[in-house]
């Protein structure tokens, strides 16, 4: 992956983190219910784990597909799926509905996995993932193909960078809202990130289609 892709992974992690539906709002609510900040912080770890698993599955699927499918076919397929999912999310207000307020580590991990997956958080990374070395290797035969180990490290690093960025942003927003800003923010500043999200998915689809390299 090139520099742009790494920064993209980082940026999208932050973008996912800032979405209240991905975690920080739940963390704040748990802190308020328990009346302690440690409940806010404690919720962030399973949320990051669930998010990483959701992202990781998409990363793995795309990496495997890169071994099997011609580059252009994969790129167009990803673009179509992304754009289609974005259009669906634009018109559908359907939302995951699972779990409640008394949750443990496992519940929160699964919840975060469901939220990330249902929102297509991993899919949004597709245009960046397609710039991974497996793709480059087939495009530039004169380079030595990346070894399996190098590839795995690279994939793990991509998931790690994204998740770390997600974790930090979710955590900072959660603590600031819990400690300082309060919930009035929800009424004033909570514009429809899901709608913006669906547009982001469509943009990612278009980018995937045209962003050859």
């Amino acid at each position: 992956m090139d520099t742009i892709s790494w920064w993209g992974m980082l940026g999208l992690g932050a973008y996912h983190g800032i979405n209240p539906g991905m975690g920080w709002l739940f963390a704040v609510a748990l802190g308020m219910q328990e009346k302690r900040r440690s409940a806010v912080i404690g919720a962030l770890f399973p949320m990051a784990l669930g998010h990483a698993i959701s992202i990781g599955i998409v990363v793995l699927v795309i990496a495997l597909a890169q071994q099997q499918l011609p580059k252009d076919v994969l790129r167009i397929a990803c673009a179509v799926v992304l754009f289609g999912f974005g259009v669906y999310k634009f018109f559908s207000a359907r939302h995951p509905k699972w779990v409640g307020m008394r949750v443990n580590f496992k519940d929160l991990t699964i919840w975060s996995f469901l939220m990330a997956s249902a929102h297509g958080a991993g899919l949004m990374l597709a245009p960046l993932l397609l710039r991974m070395p497996a793709a480059e290797a087939s495009a530039h035969m004169h380079h030595a193909p990346a070894s399996m180990a190098d590839n795995a490290t690279m994939l793990l690093s991509a998931v790690g960078v994204h998740t770390l960025s997600f974790f930090v942003v979710t955590g900072v927003v959660a603590v600031i809202v819990y400690e300082v800003v309060g919930l009035a923010l929800l009424r004033k500043a909570w514009f429809n990130l899901d709608l913006l999200w669906s547009i982001a998915l469509m943009i990612a689809g278009v980018v995937t289609l045209f962003w050859k390299h």
Binding site: A29, F90, K97
Partner: protein
């Protein structure tokens, strides 16, 4: 469906914020009838600056002898709950079940809040086939969809009654809610402690016990409900049944604390079989389980002239208290209790939920009493369905309980009315607004919902 860019402005994360909501302009009042004309959803103008203040400004006619009764919103502040957030849904539709007819009407109030439109009808057959229940009653907007309770099983008209779920986007009935109902069979109201993943349900009677007037035979045999049930919402499982004892018949309205961190609530027992008194009980989290304790007894009264008593009460010679509804202010401080039999609206400070303080009384109507209203003189019926503005300053109430029961306890006639009281939220106390008396004429007047939300429409996931 195209989504909104901003959360619905009537959604509030916490009860504290909802208290700051703007003053309501409009009330929706369910107006069933007994004369063969259709029931109607009435719109009452609440804007004190308006020329039509305190008047019915619109009537939307529904079915004949449907007994529209309780109703609720398609969506409310529960849409902000963090585990299933969907704040861009609109509070736009009233979900209006017919307690006798069993159909469910969906009314759209967005275009003109003063003239709701009927946009969908779920027929009784459809409701029964899809939910497995009949006689739908309470409607609450929850984080996952619309919850509706019902008195009985479809077809049998006996137990078990229960709860079914509706989709909050297209109003399709999704089916029975309960997975393990345990000993629960009688049904009536339900509400919940979302902060604890706990629901609570109460018990009234099966259709045959109520639809021809209260069955005195069944009452004598103590067949009406005397329990409440505690449910694990996540597993839809009855985890505990709290029995008030069969001296207490008909356990109705559930008013959990609005603050989601508080694990207690209030419920009314309509009739103590020993002395015809009514009582208020507090249920509360007690270690790993739940407990319940009586906190208020409201005695029956002796009539001035026992000959004035309706036939159902002649032999008994007393005026039963008949507490049939109550409402808790959004700050969890004041509880307002309707004594339908004795014609009193009582206000209690329940800041300490186990040590209530009586802080105010209004008298109006009452069996043999007909206490007057300042604008209308003596009235029939008594205080019944009660609703409170979100800021806790304006109390509205009506006088009809259930058409067949109105006829039984107020046989001289129970023309509908709605009144308003202004509340002293500092020290307690309440007084009638002398300019507000809504005369429903031959119609009865039952539940009131206030535009944008009130003190029994929304649930909050944040303290």
């Amino acid at each position: 469906m195209l989504q909104q860019w901003k959360p619905d402005p009537t959604f509030y994360p916490s009860p504290k914020m909802a208290i700051e909501a703007p003053i309501e302009d409009v009330a929706y009042v369910a107006a069933p009838r007994d004369d063969g004309n259709p029931d109607a959803m009435c719109v009452v103008d609440l804007n004190t600056a308006s020329d039509t203040y305190g008047q019915i400004v619109h009537k939307l006619e529904l079915g004949v002898r449907d007994e529209i009764h309780h109703f609720g919103w398609n969506a409310c502040s529960a849409a902000l709950c963090p585990y299933a957030p969907h704040p861009y849904i609109e509070r736009r539709y009233l979900v209006v079940p017919a307690l006798r007819g069993s159909s469910i009407y969906i009314l759209d109030v967005k275009e003109n809040p003063k003239a709701p439109k009927l946009v969908k009808t779920l027929t009784a057959d459809e409701v029964e086939a899809r939910s497995g229940y009949t006689r739908p009653h309470t409607v609450h907007c929850g984080p996952e969809g619309i919850y509706v309770s019902a008195l009985a099983s479809a077809g049998s008209e006996e137990g078990p009654g229960g709860i079914f779920l509706m989709d909050h986007y297209n109003f399709n009935i999704l089916g029975q809610w309960e997975v393990e109902r345990g000993p629960q069979s009688l049904s009536y109201d339900f509400w919940w402690h979302l902060g604890y993943d706990i629901a609570v349900t109460s018990e009234w009677g099966y259709p045959a016990m109520i639809e021809n007037g209260v069955s005195l035979e069944d009452l004598g045999e103590r067949k009406f409900g005397h329990k409440i049930h505690i449910w694990d919402i996540r597993h839809r499982k009855n985890i505990q049944t709290l029995d008030l004892g069969d001296d207490y018949q008909m356990i109705l309205e559930l008013r959990p604390a609005h603050d989601p961190t508080k694990a207690y609530g209030f419920v009314n027992a309509v009739l103590n079989m020993n002395d015809l008194s009514s009582s208020i009980w507090t249920w509360y989290k007690d270690g790993d389980g739940w407990g319940i304790q009586k906190i208020i007894d409201i005695p029956a009264q002796v009539p001035e002239n026992p000959d004035d008593l309706p036939p159902a009460l002649k032999d008994i010679g007393m005026i039963p208290t008949l507490v049939t509804d109550h409402i808790l202010s959004l700050d969890d401080r004041f509880l307002y209790v309707s004594c339908w039999g004795t014609g009193e609206m009582l206000q209690y400070d329940v800041s300490d939920p186990f040590n209530p303080k009586h802080t105010g009384t209004l008298k109006i109507g009452g069996i043999t009493k007909s206490h007057p209203h300042p604008a209308a003189g003596p009235v029939s019926g008594g205080p019944q369905m009660v609703e409170l503005s979100r800021d806790g300053k304006r109390l509205y109430f009506t006088n009809s309980l259930y058409v067949a029961w109105d006829n039984q306890f107020y046989p001289e006639g129970a023309n509908g009315w709605m009144v308003k009281a202004n509340v002293n939220t500092e020290d307690g106390g309440l007084e009638f607004d002398p300019d507000f008396f809504v005369d429903f004429g031959e119609s009865r007047a039952h539940q009131i919902r206030l535009q944008g939300g009130d003190s029994s429409s929304d649930t909050f996931c944040y303290p």
